[in-house]
Symmetry: C2
Subunit: 367 residues, 2 copies
């Protein structure tokens, strides 16, 4: 099947509509930052660039579609959709720090920006002997955590501001709080996993699901549906679509992280292997590779200084063991399962068509 | 005036009532942790101990009093009061990591616990060659951040679960989201302040206010009042009490952090000086000390390896410059201002009496 970079209409539309809103919100923060007791203009500027520098706007678009599926109006879910994009930025910023990633969406991660001279605050030009200290790695990391958390607080403000009846806004916010606990736990498991000696395949997949899958599809759709006051049948059909697709999306992400083109994904390929991530790809290969290939994979996995030739050797193992093929087939199978859920009479036809396009894009995207 | 360790009745009552609730909530998490794909029992156990190991339970008690001031029933604000204690734990855990503090409430901070062997997960006893890896400092720090964030998610769940009419629960939650943004920004300013060359006294006080003052008094009281549907007059009177008292509390904290007895405060005295914190004490001394004393203070401030004799020399500067005396007088003045706000007819007499006791305890406490 062909890789694609053309996003479905609903994603493009939401990106067009949300970008100026996100930009205005972040510009306001940048302006306010100059008036703070310590001038944080550079730090807020880096956060603005990080949030606006792309991203698929998938979660916000899904929130609007969940609302439409439940018969709600677009504006009822719009602030929540913006909130989900900020929520996503929060998770990425913290994840970047924890994984020590230096690049995201084709630019520096926040803790990397903040460690640069004048990355946080500006030199006071009026005092002659002033030089702004460069943040230590620890201070830069702490500030990245805090700027990520700021995005989270703004996300909550947006979600709580949904212009719907209070019981609906409240139910939606409770869902977000639950999801917040779940995704945080998933991330904790992900960080803790290398401390455990071995990890069964099911356990590894469950961690990925907690960490990424559930909040990418299930949360946005259910959030939009709750804001619209959708019926149980509609919410059930959306969940039946979201759960397999969340897994398929994660597998596609793993494939891109190992076989993707860095100029399209915005992050260096092979990093998952350098970090020793127990992806479905790796777990499958460990099970089915020849003993020699298995030893080769284990010797390279988790080596932070692995060069491109070393990465390519590991990719060879993933190919020969059938792991790549298996992962592609598995993501297609899950995608088909998600699409089948859209046959439900409780999903309006137009919404179903968009969700089908998103399902296919999610597993066949190039970035 | 005399130091006191005896807390006001409302604090003792709330501690008695909330401790079993917090314990049950955390025990449930510990039990669930054993069933996760990676057994996180030790990590959740450390979190439970951290949360339950004391604390004044000031914020929760104030939330209940805010509710009582507005004519609400105790149970209407109780989940939110529990939520504020979890929210406080979240901020402390992140703060400990950022300040690299090793001790809190007389025990290890989370990032310190997590860096110990088997501090996060347990060795699988069934596999003979298994040894559980010790978390690197970076992984231990990341996990501390995540376990702090878990407390925050649970805090939101508790606050959103308040058994009041949805519009009230929603208004209360919006307040919390705003406060979350404010306190996060305060913490970011605190971390960034050493990067700026100099910091004016007003700027330093403003940062402390953002970071601690507002969420300790103003937030809990206003939260309780909103849940009760309090009148504007009552909310105004509570704010007039909370604002000066937040500042007074912070000054008392600074005094304890420098002159307090570690066996009572649960953290080592002098750490504020070792960290180079720009407290009111330090800022006053820098302004009014003799040139020699000023030089002595600047030479020691921010030295992480300062021994007890070095700390005592700096304390001498704070005493001789009049900074200690000034800080004590200032906290008393602000406390009196807070007490005056309680004369308002919009505050029921019994609630006013409790808030008065809390004001005095807050500035004269020994821990």
């Amino acid at each position: 099947m062909t890789r694609t970079s053309v996003a479905p209409t609903s994603l493009l539309e939401f990106a067009r509509e949300s970008d100026p809103v996100l930009r205005a919100l972040l510009e306001e923060k940048v302006s306010a930052a100059a008036k703070l007791p310590v001038d944080l203009t550079p730090a807020f500027g880096a956060l603005r660039d990080y949030v606006l520098r792309g991203g698929k706007r998938l979660r916000g678009a899904l929130c609007l579609l969940g609302c439409a599926a439940g018969g709600g109006a677009r504006h009822e879910a719009f602030t929540a959709a913006i909130g989900l994009e900020l929520f996503h930025a929060y998770l990425l910023v913290h994840d970047d720090f924890m994984d020590r990633d230096e690049e995201r969406r084709g630019g520096p991660t926040l803790h990397v920006s903040f460690a640069r001279p004048e990355g946080v605050t500006r030199a006071a030009k009026t005092v002659s002997d002033v030089s702004v200290a460069t943040a230590s790695a620890h201070a830069a990391g702490s500030l990245a955590i805090l700027f990520g958390s700021l995005c989270q607080a703004w996300a909550l403000e947006q979600i709580l501001a949904a212009p719907v009846a209070p019981p609906r806004a409240l139910a939606a916010s409770r869902l977000v709080a639950r999801a917040l606990a779940e995704v945080t736990l998933g991330q904790a498991l992900d960080v803790a996993a290398p401390l455990a000696h071995s990890l069964a395949r099911d356990a590894a997949l469950r961690i990925e699901e907690l960490k990424t899958g559930s909040y990418t599809f299930a949360l946005p759709l259910e959030l939009g549906a709750l804001l619209a006051g959708a019926s149980d049948a509609t919410r059930g059909a959306l969940a039946n679509y979201a759960l397999p697709l969340g897994k398929a999306f994660q597998i596609a992400d793993d494939l891109l992280g190992t076989f993707g083109a860095p100029e399209q994904t915005g992050k260096s390929a092979g990093n998952d292997l350098r970090e020793g991530k127990r992806t479905l790809l790796v777990l499958h290969a460990l099970e089915f590779a020849t003993p020699a290939d298995r030893a080769l994979l284990l010797s390279g996995l988790g080596k932070h200084d692995l060069d491109e030739a070393g990465i390519e050797a590991l990719r060879g193992v993933l190919r020969r063991s059938g792991a790549e093929e298996f992962a592609r087939a598995e993501s297609e199978r899950l995608c088909a399962q998600a699409e089948a859920a859209l046959e439900s009479k409780s999903i309006p036809t137009a919404v179903g068509a968009e969700l089908r396009a998103i399902a296919r894009y999610s597993v066949r995207r190039a970035s």
